[in-house]
Every structure is written in structure tokens, then in C-alpha cells.
Amino acid sequence: MSEISKAFAGLAGGEGALVTYIMGGDPDPDTCSKVIDAVVAGGADILELGIPFSDPIADGKSIQAAAVRALSAGTTPRRVLELAKNAKEKHHVPVALMTYFNILYSQGFENFLRLAKSHSVDGIIVPDLPLDEASRYARLSRRMGVDNILLAAPTTSAGRMRMLASNTSGFLYLVSVLGVTGARQSLRRSTLALIAFAHRYTRGRVPLAVGFGISAPEHVREVIEAGADGVIVGSGIVDRVADYRENKSKVLQNVEEYVRSLKAATRG
């Protein structure tokens, strides 16, 4: 069982896992490691760390802006790998990298996985590497012991959902809404139905975590009650980090308190 799967399995009945996304190197690599500390102190179960990419087609305004900040601060994929390694050593929290396929491809997929492994990374999430393309690399990631966390979407059919559930590792990342990442005001009824649908295929097989648009503790609660094993929150955290230039002293505290409120909601 991978570190990521263990994080889900270790939770008591009814409690959901909190997966927190932050952009690696945002607002700059040194501050980012403090943001990681704050997120973990707030109670994150799994850390999802983004590697900034110039053309993030699955991301909305918040995470696009975070990528711009990180890249302008000189963040490289190597630097994010170091952040991951430090986080792992310091906090023993499972770490998944989230980035776009070209970042992996340009280093060579196998080479990238080897680097990731040597930096204690537990999984990768690549939003523009859908099942059909990922299957070329499935054996490789299994052999290297790095979870390749696949994504499912509201447009995914039953047949595809079944294949995704049996091919993903670590957990299945369910994209809750049509569109891109970004905090949304409310949770749609259709999202809850989608969770119930996906859960039919993941139950007893692999944990189901729900992301995109989830930002308020009430959303977290509803998602867990609808059958999800975990929630992924990104833009809500990233938006708080974005305040850094104006509000330096408060940001880390804001992030920690925010994450704590999300984590409390996973327990009901």
C-alpha cells in the first residue's frame, strides 16, 4: 500500500482526508516552505504540490496567477522537488506533485519519475494526461512505486469511470464541475449526484477524492457526506497566499486557520 493510500486507510469511520494544494515556489521558494509548514500545522493529510507550468489549461485565474508568481520568483521543477523532499522529511506527510505533462515529458517521463522517487514523492497528478495517454506509462509508474493519480470528470461515462477506478493508484481525483480550478460560491446539486455515481465504481477499490471549486468548510462536509473519501482544496489556499505581498505577517496564520477549519469539517 502506498503512503497516499495509507493516509486514507488510517482515518476513522466517517472522517475524510484533506488534500491541500499549493503551488510550489509561490510566492517564492523560501516562503513556500513556510506555507507548507502552515498547511501541515492546520491538519492537511496529503500535500499536493504544484510545479508551475507556462500554459496551465486546466487552471482558473487563481492558480494561473500562482504559477506566474512562482515562475517569476525563479521556481524550477528541481526546486519544487526539493520543497517536496524537505516537506516529507520534516512532516512525514504524503506528497503528490501536480503538473502538466510537458514538464515531465521534457525531462523524460522515466527520468522524471526517478527524480521524484529520489525526492520522496509519493504520487503524480497530471491533468492533461488522461487515461488513454497515461496507459503508456502505467507500468513504469507502478515499477517505480509512484502513484499515478488519474482524474475523472462530470462528462465521464460509466464505462470510463470503471476503467479509471481500476487504473488509478493512490486515489481517484474526481473533478467536481465542468471547467477549470477556482473557488466557487456554492456546491451544485449535480456535484453530489456525481460523487454518488463515481463512488459506485471506487467503493472497496480505491479512495475517491473530490476537487475543483471546493473552498468552504460547508462544501467539505457535504462532499464527505455524499460519499467521498477525501476533498482537495486548492484555489482557496492559493488565494490566501496571494495576499502575501500586502499582508506578510498574517498570511501564514490565515492559511493555517483556514486549513484547520477545512480539516475540522472533514470530521463532521
Binding site: I57, I103, D128, T155, V175, L178
Partner: protein, 395 residues
Amino acid sequence: MKSYPVNGRFGEFGGQFVPETLVPALQELESAYLRWKSDAGFRAELDGMLREYAGRPTPLYFARNLTKRAGGAMIFLKREDLLHGGAHKINNTLGQGLLAKRMGKQRVIAETGAGQHGVATAIACAALGLKAEVYMGSVDIERQKLNAYRMELMGAELHSVTAGSRTLKDAINEALRDWATNVSTTYYLIGSVVGPHPYPVIVRDFQSVIGKEIRDQMRRREGRLPDAVVACVGGGSNAMGSFHEFVEKRGVKLVGVEAGGAGRGRNAASLAEGRKGVLHGMLTYVLEDEDGQIRETQSVSAGLDYPGVGPEHSYLKERGRATYVTVRDKDALRAFHLLAEVEGILPALESAHAVAHAVKMARSMKKEQSIVVTLSGRGDKDVQIVAKEAGLESE
């Protein structure tokens, strides 16, 4: 070779590197395309529109004065610039517009660089009764104001994109985000042979009318096929449309001309200077830095200013079936002036790249040989840029 792609790939190039949300939409698009492309009613409607509305067939013009000036092979111009809208783009927008209608999608989105595809989308949607929304980088809007306004006149809604380099690649990013958000009601009408499968095939097929006409016109006029076909390559749709018919005909040399910009490292020549990478859903040659971040490009021509290229071009390059060269900004501008002066034709700056290289090629070929250059668009939109560049030169 002609029947490629296999499983959405041209050799290793192509594919569907898109978020899961869009995968079912691409599958739906592919099956709709396969169903309608050989449907007699669909073909008849498209051919009718191309003939009566767009102005096909376009002339193949023997450029006598240009040929004399070059002093070698005969140079023919395939006059796509004479099409309605002023560029070859309408071949594709009418085709995909009709497909969108058959699929029951009422809202069409598109990206545009120089604005030619945006204009062609606005035209097709107005004619077919569809709603068009066009994404265009704010830098491109600035340098192609006239086209931006033309789109709005024809009822398209223009979205200015201020992310990244604020050019074509960012407009595509934004269109992909829109499509993922509104996928059930919206048709994404891509303007070049780029993007995830099946777009490179769909756009190529709708543009392949260019090469078919070249074949017929050369046979009729010269009794044989041309020795070379030359076209500019940004994403590569006019080039792919010109080449496709000749890919199997080994005697015809295929030459793609990329934007050489201001020289090494400051251009948009993905095939000449790029590496294999993944951008906008396809594996192809891209311009990137050592970390895999997509590089900003540079060209006097907004339509060629793109850090990737259609996957089939990458394949043709790798197979050695087509050759790709670069022409710098200053040489493209010189060709623009040359064609204006000796033939009375203002080519689009994009097409001027192809003209520049054809003249160079002609010099080293025999008088009885022939080159067809695809004049993908007209240059009215570029007159201001040309005037500005001419002013700079004389200073």
C-alpha cells in the same frame, strides 16, 4: 502514409493530451466527423458554400514578372488570398461550422492570432446562423485592430486575453478553458492543424481542397504536377492543405516556411529550433526552455507567432517527406514589397515568408521547372506594420 493518423497519432506525434472533461467531447467530435464527412448532403452543402459564398476554386496564377525577377523556375501563386474574408481560413470554418450545426451546437468558440481565423469564424457563423465568440491575445488585438473590428461587425463577441504572452498560444489556452466549462453546448472551432486528435485531421481535410485544386490546375495548364509546393507554417493549416494531395507523389517537393523572426532564439520556428514536447493537447515540436516551459516567440507576422506546430508536420519532417526552412522578418518584408511592386499583389506577411523562400528556390532550379506558392492570405491587414517597418528602415 496518406491514411494517417493511426489511433490519433502521426507516428509518435499527435494524441489527446487534454483534461478528462474534454475526452468524451473529442470522441463525440470524431464520430460526428466520420459520419458527416462522407455524407452526400453534407458534402453538397459545403461544396456549394465554398463555390458560391467563399469563391472557390481560387485561381492558380503564373507570376510572370516574379518568375523573371527570380530568374529560374516558373513561380505560380495559388490565390487563397482572393477568398471571401481574405484568407484560406474560410475553407475550414465553413466545414467545421456546418459540422457544428449537424452536431446541434449553437455556440461556437475560436482562438485567433492575426485575426484571420477569427474573421473567418465570424463570417461562417454569421452565414450559418451560429453564435461566435473569439479569443484573441491583447497584443494581437493591438497589432491587428482592423481584424478585431471586422469580427465585431459580423456579430462575433471578442474576448481579449491578457494571460501569458498575450498572443495566439494564450488565446488557445483560454478557448480550451472555455470549452471545458461549456462543453455540452459549445463547439470549439480550431483554426489550424493543431490541438488534440481529431482536430489536426479535420482541419487538414477541410483545407486539402487547396492541394486538390493545385493538382488539377497544374495538370490542365502544364500537363504535369509542380516540382515543388511551398507554403508558410505557423500552426500549418495552409501548408498541410497544400501538401496533403502530394504527400504520396514523391516527385513533388514539399517545403514549409517557418517564421525566422529576428534570428536564432528570437523566432517562431518550432520545427527548426524546437524539441519534442506537449502543448495544446498534442505531442509535436515546441519551443521550450530546458525545464519544459513554453518559450515566448517572435515574428513580424502574428499568424506565424506560435510556439508549436501541427503534429503531421512534425511527422512529415521526421519522415523526410517535407522540408522546413526559416525566413527572417526582414526577408519576408522584402518579399512583401517585391510582390507588391512586380505583380500588384499585397500578400499577407505570413504568405510573404513563403514567397521569399520560393524566389530563392527558383534561382537554383531550371526554367522549365515549376514552383507553386500558396498565397494563404492578402496583406491589407498588414499595411500598417509594413509602413512602420519601412519607416524604421529608412531612419
